[in-house]
Subunit: 404 residues, 2 copies
């Protein structure tokens, strides 16, 4: 099931003329998701470096799983024995799974795409495997994810230096469209109780995007994604598609921009009418020592942090920056380590952990970055609720430019 | 400060003739420690793979820091700027630091030991450095650890195939004795407000151990350690020293067996009169996929776990085995994933995480293994409190032999 309530749309305030931003509420089989929302990516049945309890603590409402990866390991039989991904990974809130199409496509020379589907060799054990709209629906039904994605072909921006032409983008988009029909039929045949999203393709060509979305809207999916962005194109082209497509999708259905992006991209995406985002950036960057903060990004490996007692972000309430809330049963006893009365970990300590290759470094960095993204979306929702999204955007931009 | 209350000693029950086991309570500058206790090892200012909040949740009362490592990174200046290790690593319960002697000694050909101290090249940047009893006391005073260890020379069991002779063990023990005097003098001169432990050496020679302990007892340290065990000797020789030394130390002072060992070693050590243990085994083995359980050890990489829905240990209450307690603010909502109503992670899931090289694998394994060790000591304390340590030992042995 899927129910989407459009709670509020952005309205003009002062000099601000408004945007396509909206505040919504998504009800799925495993719970309610307040939108706009960022969804942490849990590729192999785990959001890298963080326990489900920490995800709960930081307010994650829905996470992703990757169908292709979970098909390879642990495989469908193990997954089905747990009744799906929720039981396997111990996450009882909503889950969205991708179709596996992007990963199969990424295998490059290792795979062959035909109208039927994609033939490829398993990167795990070399087995010859076949992915099709039907197979994707079958695997995702086994995963029992709350939101299932249609199998699509992710139209590349360029291939070995060759920019995708309009004809190529059209051909690809049209196959995705036919795969949307087959996905929908198989999803229905399997009596999957969850919700299937269609994916708009069309490369960097607005009229192809328009064609794609019209056909998909006609098919009446419960939600829509914008795919084929953040695939190596210049930022300006990505922003162009973001400005074009989301707000043209049906107002009363959720809109999901796949694989995007930086904090700035997310805020822009909300303004463009997007409700849902996912990206590996907060988790991957955390493991590489790049931390997001209200006042810009911070590279913890930089020697200047070696002696710095400040937390990553003085306004952040995550476990890394503020320690454990004192009201939890095993909470701290009010001892604070710096003059400001804060109880979190210092930049000096995080710098030290990174330098020593200690696991706690990426663990704390992951908690911080995911908390930053989730909190950013919380602030976006609050701004929309309060009718002050325009002011929020201006403040966000000024804060991020300030520097840490 | 250090205050040690001897609460209870083991007494005969039924056929059981009693042991040297004792139940105690250690009061230190940062809090109270119930003994016997296991102390997780936090080499570089972090117990590898686990956040301080998790250590609190699993009931850790005191952790270790390694003086040598922390001297190298982040160095004394950073540490002092935080007022010591507690503030740096955000752990406000007691900390014990070793002297750095063992690590310097482990440098092998890279160091030169004289009566004065040890000259060596920094393994981090090649700087020529000097460690002495005075230097060790100065660094540990900067760390502000609740329990400080004297600098000693760790007498090896063998060196390149040559077994340490009695004459060599005596010479080494006698130098450690002289270093104990210098450590005590410098500790006093620095007006360190914490507690300094002497370390009994003497290799595998009982009469040397006896000599060593008598001199140290004469010096009236607030606590004593047994060093130079678990350094490559056969298990029988280690057990012989464990049977010899601890119970000959003063009854009203805490006794710490350094670097030991398996669960079986800990229970034997308690019977031999030891109050405090530390070992890297639970954390290191966790990262290598070896899990301790009530019913024996388990290698999570074994293919037989691939489809197993059971938790690691059905009697374990750690986060990995039992999930989060439902009474915490963000606790689970009572949804359980297996027939037994349990809410933890399955062996199949942990096997999967290990196979995929996911960080959450060693994270959960570390939580489990440390919880196992800490809980084992909790059960030991409860048995001693209830006057049934003999029965506990028999049950422990039978359970561990059962197999998982």
């Amino acid at each position: 099931m899927l129910k989407f309530d459009l709670l509020k749309t952005d309205a003009p305030e002062g000099d601000y003329l408004g945007s396509h931003a909206r505040r919504g509420r998504l009800t799925l089989n495993h719970g309610v998701v307040e939108t706009p929302i960022f969804m942490p990516v849990g590729t192999y049945g785990t959001v890298k470096g963080v326990a489900p309890s920490s995800l709960e603590d930081m307010g994650a409402q829905i996470i992703l799983g990757n169908t292709f990866h979970l098909w390879m390991r642990p495989g469908q039989e193990v997954m089905k024995s747990f009744g799906g991904l929720h039981g396997f990974e111990q996450w009882n809130k909503p889950i969205l799974t991708d179709s596996g199409g992007f990963q199969v496509w990424s295998l490059g020379a290792m795979r062959k795409i035909t109208e039927d589907g994609v033939t490829f060799a398993s990167p795990v054990n070399g087995d010859k495997l076949f992915m099709s709209p039907e197979v994707s629906m079958q695997i995702q039904t086994g995963l029992n994810s709350d939101i299932v994605m249609q199998l699509d072909e992710c139209t590349p921006y360029e291939t070995n230096g060759h920019l995708t032409t309009e004809a190529e983008a059209r051909k690809s988009m049209e196959m995705s469209r036919r795969w949307a029909v087959r996905s929908k039929d198989e999803f229905a045949r399997l009596e999957n109780p969850n919700a299937l999203f269609g994916i708009v393709q069309g490369g960097m060509f607005e009229h192809l995007r328009q064609e794609s979305l019209e056909v998909l809207v006609e098919m009446d999916f419960p939600g829509y994604a914008i795919g084929g962005v953040s695939v190596g194109e210049p930022k300006a082209e990505m922003l162009q598609i973001m400005a074009h497509t989301p707000h043209r999708l049906p107002a009363h259905k959720p809109r999901y921009l796949m694989g995007v992006g930086t904090p700035e991209d997310l805020v822009q995406g909300v303004a463009d009418g997007v409700d849902m985002f996912d990206c590996v950036m907060p988790t991957r960057n955390a493991r590489n020592g790049t931390l997001f903060t209200r006042y810009g990004d911070l590279k913890i490996r930089n020697a200047r942090h070696k002696t710095d007692h400040q937390p990553l972000d003085t306004t952040c309430t995550c476990y890394a920056c503020a320690g454990r809330p004192v009201d939890t049963p095993a909470g701290r006893t009010g001892v604070s380590w710096d003059a400001g009365g804060r109880d979190g970990f210092s930049r000096a300590y995080l710098h030290h952990l990174d330098r020593c290759g200690e696991m706690l470094g990426p663990m704390l960095a992951t908690i911080h970055n995911l908390h930053y993204y989730l909190n950013l979306m919380r602030e976006v929702r609050e701004a929309l609720d309060a009718g002050r999204f325009g002011a929020f955007r201006a403040q966000f931009k000024a804060d991020r430019a300030r520097g840490v």
